[in-house]
């Protein structure tokens, strides 16, 4: 019997991409996706269940489907996407209900993977160059996003302590960029002039979106447990990031920066507080623990930024195109159900 996996946040970029990656794996029997919105990516055999944002129906789904693995990607790490209250409902209450369902008596859940963010470390002048998974954050919790993420991690820790038979992996991703993902950071880098803060040239670390998916898959395949930072090798000064993007920076005043960014917000350039502190102090995370457990990155920080820029250039020239997932329903149905197809052929099964 193969694995039975529940993916939360199927309608989000990550949930969709994770489900796509799981669909390609023959040992995964069942994929159930949960979200408030219909999935935006093409999916072949994932079953979609619409739920309310805080997952009150979750325990029934877990009991009914007997999933052994939960991939929790439905954590909002971009505070510009929605109101603070909605974010709280999704992040904190959603996670709480998720773990309540997963720890119910008779629960079949044995693996949990949570996608968190390096925002839990904050950013301040007192920070070390590299945060290890055990380094405590230095900056006080200021923004609602950080507060909710730290609260979520508290639930994850409690769940792991109360359920020692469940493997819990918590992945903290740092500044994800790539061909398709849109975050406040990628929006800032696509502006004609890249905003910076005068007198500061902090160092950034980036993760390519493919490495995000690959790391989640790695954790699932190798039964890895614990807390892991996920980020490409190397730290780049913000000026160099802009240079790789072929842009110049436009400095904002170092004092009363909030006032200066307010008019920008009205123009549609939203720089959330987390990004503003990053533009001042930057952040590096130590990515060696996951590498020690066998994961290999495909992109360095600089490589990820370059991949992002090249994809943006292509999109600017030829418009949106979706080469990523070539799923043609009719062809797949033919492969799956036609008596003319020879079964157990690797070329068909693995569907490269």
């Amino acid at each position: 019997m193969g694995r039975r996996i529940l993916v939360t946040g199927l309608g989000t970029f990550w949930g969709g991409r994770v489900a796509q990656a799981l669909e390609a794996q023959p040992d995964v029997d069942v994929i159930i996706g949960l979200d408030t919105r219909t999935p935006s990516v093409k999916l072949e055999r994932t079953e979609y269940v619409r739920s309310d944002e805080n997952y009150s129906i979750l325990s029934r789904i877990v009991a009914a489907t007997g999933v052994d693995t939960i991939v929790h990607t439905f954590l909002v790490v971009d505070s510009t996407q929605m109101a603070a209250r909605t974010m709280h409902e999704i992040n904190v209450i959603g996670t709480m209900n998720l773990f309540a369902a997963a720890s119910a008596p008779g629960s079949t859940v044995r693996n949990v993977v949570v996608k968190s963010s390096a925002h839990v470390y904050g950013a301040s002048a007192a920070d070390p160059v590299w945060f290890t998974e055990d380094t405590r954050r230095k900056a006080p919790l200021r923004t609602r996003l950080e507060r909710s993420l730290v609260e979520v991690e508290g639930y994850v820790r409690d769940f792991a302590l109360d359920n020692p038979h469940v493997r819990v992996a918590l992945l903290r991703f740092s500044n994800v960029v790539g061909p398709t993902i849109v975050t406040p950071l990628t929006k800032a880098l696509r502006l004609p002039l890249v905003p910076s803060i005068f007198g500061f040239d902090p160092r950034f670390q980036f993760t390519h979106e493919d490495d995000v998916i690959r790391s989640i898959q790695h954790v699932l395949d190798h039964d890895v447990a614990g807390i892991y930072n996920v980020a490409g090798d190397g730290l780049l000064p913000w000026s160099e990031v802009a240079a790789i993007c072929g842009k110049r920076t436009i400095p904002m005043p170092p004092f009363a920066t909030g006032l200066a960014t307010d008019p920008l917000r009205r123009l549609g350039v939203d720089l959330p507080p987390e990004l503003l502190t990053l533009l001042r102090y930057g952040r590096g995370v130590d990515n060696r623990r996951l590498q020690r457990d066998g994961f290999r990155y495909e992109y360095t920080s600089a490589g990820a930024v370059e991949a992002f820029v090249e994809a943006s250039r292509l999109r600017d020239t030829v418009g949106d195109h979706q080469p990523a997932y070539r799923y043609q329903r009719d062809v797949e149905l033919f492969f799956r159900h036609s008596p003319s197809v020879l079964r157990n052929q690797p070329s068909v099964e693995s569907k490269s």
Partner: protein, 299 residues
């Protein structure tokens, strides 16, 4: 694969299931394309900037302060070591003198661990970081000393050293909470104490303005003898103009700690004892050097 399910968290990869082989340890390091555009390294240092600042600073080092070393051979040629020194001067002049001296004489880079306050200042913070400053955080120190086997320099007095007024010169303040000893123990490196004479007189503080410091959010706001004496001629430049005091730096015997590295905790009493002993050593050495010093300006 239901048998996978068992096993407590943490005790991963039970032998029950053949897990796909993890990457063997002898796998050659992979070379990913890394399209870097600048020479800023992981610590925020830029070799261009460092070369430039070395060239600008060298005349000050050799002509203005005429830095003289005693016992330079006690600084290890390789392997990590944590150097600690007394700290003085309203804008401390000892840190660049020590760092430049060792880089010049021993051709070993020195990482100056300093207060985070630098990083909060626009422009200055960036220049400081490019020239080789690193925030004094235990993680940074451990990585430098244990993993990269570098020389690091720290002033355990913190801002309490440079903020003392001239009448308290060469009186060492408290050495923090002994954190530097703990870091050296955990990293398995010796502490090399340095005694610096001259920095106190290069920019003496006459009095301080606490209200201004509070308003600006900085640790102290000094009125220096340099401002008072040179201000009429140099204007605001006098704030950064040092008196040409003669610098003498004495390297004391390295202190090795007989403890296992990489422990989560070390005995607080041992730490404080060692820290106080090192402070005493530097204080004694300073008194010795001052006894034989004939002139502030010529040594």
């Amino acid at each position: 694969m239901p048998s996978k399910a068992a096993g407590p968290q943490g005790a991963t990869r039970a032998e029950l299931v053949p897990v796909p082989a993890l990457v063997p340890p002898d796998e050659p390091p992979q070379h990913l394309p890394d399209p870097r555009r600048s020479d800023v390294d992981e610590w925020g240092r830029s070799e261009h900037m460092r070369e430039l600042s070395r060239r600008l600073y060298d005349p000050i080092y050799s002509k203005w302060f005429r830095v003289e070393w005693d016992g330079l051979e006690k600084i290890p040629d390789d392997g990590g070591a944590l150097m600690v020194a007394n700290h003085a001067g309203a804008i401390p002049s000892d840190a660049p003198a020590i760092m430049h001296g060792i880089e010049k004489e021993l051709q070993r880079p020195v990482y100056g661990l300093a207060d985070q306050m630098f990083k909060t200042l626009p422009v200055i913070g960036t220049l400081w970081s490019r020239a080789g400053g690193v925030v004094a955080h235990p993680d940074n120190a451990y990585r430098l000393l244990r993993e990269q086997k570098q020389l690091a320099l720290v002033f355990p007095e913190g801002t309490k050293g440079p903020s003392k007024t001239f009448n308290q010169r060469y009186q060492l303040r408290r050495f923090g909470r002994g954190g530097y000893v703990e870091i050296a123990m955990r990293s398995g490196v010796p502490v090399v104490p340095l005694a610096v004479v001259g920095a106190e007189e290069s920019m003496p503080i006459v009095f301080k303005l606490p209200a201004v410091a509070k308003a600006l959010g900085i640790p102290y706001f000094p009125i220096t003898a340099n401002m008072l004496a040179l201000g009429p001629f140099l204007g605001p430049l006098a704030t950064a103009a040092y008196f040409p005091a003669k610098f003498k730096i004495k390297v004391l015997d390295p202190v090795h700690f007989d403890v296992e590295p990489d422990q989560a905790r070390y005995s607080r009493s041992r730490i404080m004892e060692a820290s106080e002993a090192i402070r005493q050593q530097i204080q004694e050495a300073l008194y010795d050097m001052l006894r034989t010093r004939r002139s502030v300006w010529f040594g």
